[in-house]
């Protein structure tokens, strides 16, 4: 697992208080919302804040944000692309 991906998963677990869950247990390609992790829209806003504070990446375009929230892989790629150097 890449370092960034591990940090993304750790941020998700901490931010959403997924107690008892480890980064290994989050599938890279399973949907974050609905069937996969079962997150809801309130969790989405919590993640927007978490990404901004942890990775200094602002999600201002909601459509792009929703693409990024597809799964851990897409979220990691989005953060890698937008992270300040």
């Amino acid at each position: 697992m890449s370092d960034l991906k591990l940090r993304v998963k750790t941020m998700i677990i901490e931010r959403l208080k997924l107690e008892g869950m480890t980064p290994d247990q989050i599938d890279d390609t399973a949907p974050l919302f609905g069937d996969g992790l079962g997150l809801d829209s309130i969790d989405a806003l919590e993640l927007v804040l978490g990404i901004e504070q942890t990775f200094k990446v602002k999600i201002e375009d909601e459509a792009a944000g929703m693409q990024a929230f597809k799964n851990v892989d897409s979220l990691t790629a989005f953060i890698a692309e937008h992270q300040p150097a």
Binding site: P31, D40, S41, A44, V48, L49, M66
Partner: protein
């Protein structure tokens, strides 16, 4: 701003903002609520010792948060979706002029998170973060695909 009913759909006895004293859309709102001895909730809370129920301070902040929006909220379905870190630091009594200050923290997918403070003569009585949900039609821009509303929220209706 004094035309409060023109912006908020709430009415007596549940309109809990009297006037807006400062308003920067999307940045900050400062509003006021003067607690009179005739407020209906003072009748039973409590009979000989009227005190403002703490939960109503949360509602006051939510209503003040409505003024962060440009457009009047009539006809819109807006719900309180989450209350975070609510702290009640002091009581409020009849005669108190409460200052309600709210700022937005973040928004995404029709959700707005605000942080707010209720104070009286410089004393902080309550601080809280609130999540407000504006219901969007399905598939509208901004709705999160596959992200259902919290269970029970969708059934409440406007």
């Amino acid at each position: 701003m004094s035309d409060i009913p023109g912006h908020l759909p709430h009415r007596f006895p549940f309109l809990l903002v009297d006037r807006v004293v400062a308003r920067e859309i999307g940045v900050r709102v400062v509003a006021e609520k003067l607690l009179t001895a005739g407020e209906p909730y003072f009748l039973g809370h409590f009979e000989d010792r009227p005190i403002l129920p703490g939960v109503l301070m949360i509602e006051m902040l939510a209503q003040a948060g409505g003024f962060l929006e440009t457009e009047p909220l009539h006809g819109q379905a807006i719900f309180l979706a989450q209350i975070l870190d609510a702290r009640f630091k002091g009581p409020a009594f009849p005669g108190d002029r409460l200052v309600l200050e709210v700022r937005p923290e973040a928004s995404f997918g029709g959700l707005l998170r605000i942080e707010g403070t209720v104070s009286c003569e410089g004393r902080i009585l309550c601080t809280a973060k609130l999540m407000l949900k504006k219901m969007l039609p399905p598939n509208a821009p901004g709705s999160v695909p596959g992200a259902p509303a919290r269970q029970g929220l969708a059934e409440k209706g406007p």
